[in-house]
Symmetry: C2
Subunit: 267 residues, 2 copies
């Protein structure tokens, strides 16, 4: 038996999300099907982040064990040959059998991409939330920074979620603007007026990033003061936060694990 850690990128537009659902095509199910071809038997894949319907990944991490003897590079190639082009294995590594992509994840980084222009670029329509009208990016940046730290994020949790503790550590919460190390404008051409939000933490509640972004956009539109975000956090009341930003803008950028831990070298 070999256990593998795979790093994945996907365009989530056509999927019901990471997790298998009663109906619709999931990323997890798509990968499990490609693995079944390889293994000749059902394989269960664990993903570090259970991205919702329409959410993308540039660095999702998943793990699974298979009986078939295969090196990590051959595994990546075989999986990519079986997967649709909107789901790609970027890297495969053989890891100790004790490795579990979700339980051992230490830090996750998400980006949210806002297209702040009157006409949504056809190249961005799958990967951004279009917000027309002026945005006060400085006010948004200051509010974003106010949630760095250990807080109870209950106010930003999706309604109807049922989890234990709603306390999370947010190591970084930044809006891209001049002087920060995330670029405000990305991509080809002058026609991408993108505002990019990045959040890094040890874990995220359901819809937490999208609810934070929805609140930041209300601040950017001048409908809330940047200082109000502390009161939203303190309220622990979902109704105090802004609306849930659309799935299309959200990208799981990377998942980090403790170094060392006995990772095996390639195959």
């Amino acid at each position: 038996v070999g256990t593998f850690k795979v790093t994945l990128a996907y365009d989530g537009t056509e999927y019901v999300g990471w997790q298998r659902q009663a109906s619709g095509v999931s990323i997890q199910g798509t990968i499990e099907e490609a693995l079944m071809e390889l293994e000749g038997a059902a394989v269960t894949v664990s993903g570090a982040g259970r991205t919702d319907a329409g959410v993308h990944a540039a660095g999702q991490v998943a793990s699974f064990s298979i009986r078939r003897t295969i090196g990590p590079d051959a595994l990546a190639r075989a999986l990519n040959a079986g997967l649709p082009p909107d789901v790609r294995v970027l890297k495969a590594e053989e890891v100790p059998d004790s490795f579990h992509a979700r339980f051992q994840a230490r830090v996750k980084t998400y980006r949210y991409r806002i297209f702040n222009g009157a006409v949504l670029s056809p190249f961005e329509r799958r990967f951004a939330w279009q917000v027309a009208g002026p945005l006060d990016v400085e006010a948004m940046a200051s509010a974003a920074r106010a949630i760095e730290g250990r807080y109870d994020f209950a106010a930003f949790q999706g309604a109807g979620s049922d989890t234990g503790s709603t306390v999370r550590d947010v190591a970084r919460s930044r809006l891209a603007s001049a002087g920060l190390d995330i670029e405000l404008r990305e991509g080809p051409g002058a026609m991408r007026p993108l505002v990019v939000y990045e959040i890094q933490g040890n874990g995220f509640l359901r819809f937490m990033v999208r609810n934070i972004v929805g609140t930041l956009v209300e601040i950017g539109r001048g409908r809330r003061a940047p200082e109000s975000i502390a009161g939203v956090l303190a309220s622990r009341d979902r109704r105090q936060a802004g609306p849930t930003a659309p799935a299309a803008g959200l990208v799981l950028m990377s998942v980090d694990y403790d170094e060392v831990r006995g990772f095996a070298a390639s195959s």
Copy 2:
């Protein structure tokens, strides 16, 4: 009667190209249909660049005349309401009736995007040509510069084309690399190893840009010397050039016209 100049962006993936064809959906036909809704009668639209099937535009220019009295901003909004999200009007301007988007175009700029990585990013699959394996970007850059100037580009013309003169002026032909003003790597994440080629000229033969790129990639792969491009030009023989690069990587970035010329201010 009002004559309008519109600047368009489109994801060409699902289209048979700019021009109406016997079958399939064209960009021109799509815009003419949206205009017909507005005008209540057939309208003919002229495009500056007749982009081929699968080719994109970030700054195509088109012109047409309508009887309906409408301001340029209202026209842009009305067209966008009728167009699918993969075709967008970025700007509309009222122009003298003598304006013609194709006949008066002075300079066109195209970019070609090469994804030089083993695994094609799901975010780039519609907008780039994947070339796996190492590319000698310096050799490609030097070959690219060798075609700046006035040359007979017959060797780079699509087979079966029937045009008059095959002489064109190429004002700029550059590969992005450190020190040039086109960025080598664009877009979000570290996973976009993009090589970008830009060419600017007064006109292009059919498949000319894609045939140049196919030749540059052969040079990048070490199958041709960078100096060989001069001989290809001199041969005027299509068989001396490389293969036609795929449509997906090509983007019509902008079309320039002479300034002044009596352009009316926004009505």
